[in-house]
Symmetry: C2
Subunit: 225 residues, 2 copies
DNA sequence: CGAGGCATTGAGTCTCCTCAACATGTGTGG
DNA sequence: CCACACATGTTGAGGAGACTCAATGCCTCG
């Protein structure tokens, strides 16, 4: 039971450098939490109670705008640590796309953990830098690439975190994809159709199961050139 | 002399909570550095030697892409602390737009400072969160707004950090602006022209001095709605 | 004076958005 | 069990906005 927790912590970038003994001291502070598809782990604006370590499943982060518009910040999978910001409230919502198994830890316990083992600080800062860089990249992607090219970037990303060779299982809607890539639903649909016509991808009838037929071409289209 | 350093540190978000005695311990580690317009304080990819606190002047941060393309991450002014990332190299270049007066501190000294006064950690994390949120916002702006609307967002930002009521002095080129907003030079020029024709802004002959004639309308256009 | 960087402007083209119609699947209430 | 609302997705027509390409003017610097 605790061994499962420790093994999950070891697989997270933040705690990778801690010894099993160190993790053992804190493993009792983590508690399992499971969510169904479309559940929110937390919502933008709520006071931050817990940080979450994703053990299994897929999720998306979203930020609402005043008018009902929405920015989908990102999609992700296993091993990410989320919700430990320092802004007084959660700054984005975290939503389950599939069944999500997670370990949650109270903010106070989390920061005590970090304080006791300062090397975690370094890992957190490093990850924060990577995420910020990723957003610079996304801003450039949305600004410079065409719709079907942006889609290639996303398909590569999904195939990577799903670790499923040459396949991408889309657990989000076309609307979600559009809000991430800065396209409307119609344009997302047309972008898929274009890649399919050019035999770069193939789709099943549901439109949710994508075969990446020509990964070299996908890589080319996804490059910021 | 040292009083000048301490006063500058006090005006920076990261050191605002430190006592004058605490700052005094470290003020000797900061050294003045002045840069001319178009100078780089540091370049993307270089090993990080110093962190910089901007005392005076304006700057921009940029990230190069493989092909010669470029993402301008942002423009800014006085009081910002830059270059203390943890990625092994600087992740973006920092370029002076005007004459820039700064205080630089060696990375080792900076992190020793932070270690001695952990509340600085908190400020740094908070600021990092704000910057990441700002990039989410920029991604949404570039994805959803029209050219002249994006320009309004930028003009508001510049007027804010220049703290010059109803005016914006553009110390960057149209090309820089385009690389920030995801537009090409021509489109930037047309966006200015459009705002000018609609009497929302006025420009001098140089095109570098912008009067914000209708700030209410600018606010409306800049809103993500 | 000439070269090069910066900025503007016009013509033509392409991408994406808007709006509308339509298909499919799911859940709810009569 | 059927009728219906609703969410999701696809497709087409028309138009707005941004890009490409080219020409031109201004300014600075050697």
């Amino acid at each position: 039971m605790s061994a499962d927790v420790i093994s999950s912590l070891h697989n997270c970038y933040a705690f990778r450098d801690q010894s099993s003994e160190q993790l053992d001291h804190f493993s009792g502070r983590f508690h399992s939490a499971t969510f169904n598809p479309h559940d929110y782990l937390y919502r933008e604006g709520d006071p931050p109670k817990f940080a979450y370590l994703i053990q299994d499943g897929e999720w998306m982060t979203e930020i609402d705008h005043a008018d009902g518009g929405r920015q989908v910040a990102g999609f992700g999978g296993v091993g990410e640590l989320l919700g430990f910001g320092v802004m007084g409230t959660y700054v984005y919502s975290l939503k389950a796309l599939t069944i999500v198994r997670s370990l949650k830890i109270a903010q106070n316990d989390f920061w005590k953990f970090v304080k006791d083992y300062p090397s975690i600080q370094y890992s957190l800062r490093k990850r924060a830098n990577q995420i910020t860089l990723g957003m610079y990249r996304q801003a450039a992607i949305n600004a410079k690439l065409k719709g079907h090219e942006r889609l290639c970037v996303l398909l590569q990303h999904i195939a990577t975190y799903q670790n499923s060779d040459g396949m991408a299982q889309l657990n989000m809607t076309r609307h979600d994809i559009g809000d991430h890539l800065g396209l409307n639903v119609d344009s997302v649909s047309r972008a898929f159709k274009k890649l399919q016509k050019e035999k770069i991808i193939d789709m099943d009838n549901s439109g949710r199961q994508i075969a990446l037929l020509d990964q070299i071409r996908i890589q080319e289209l996804a490059s910021i050139i």
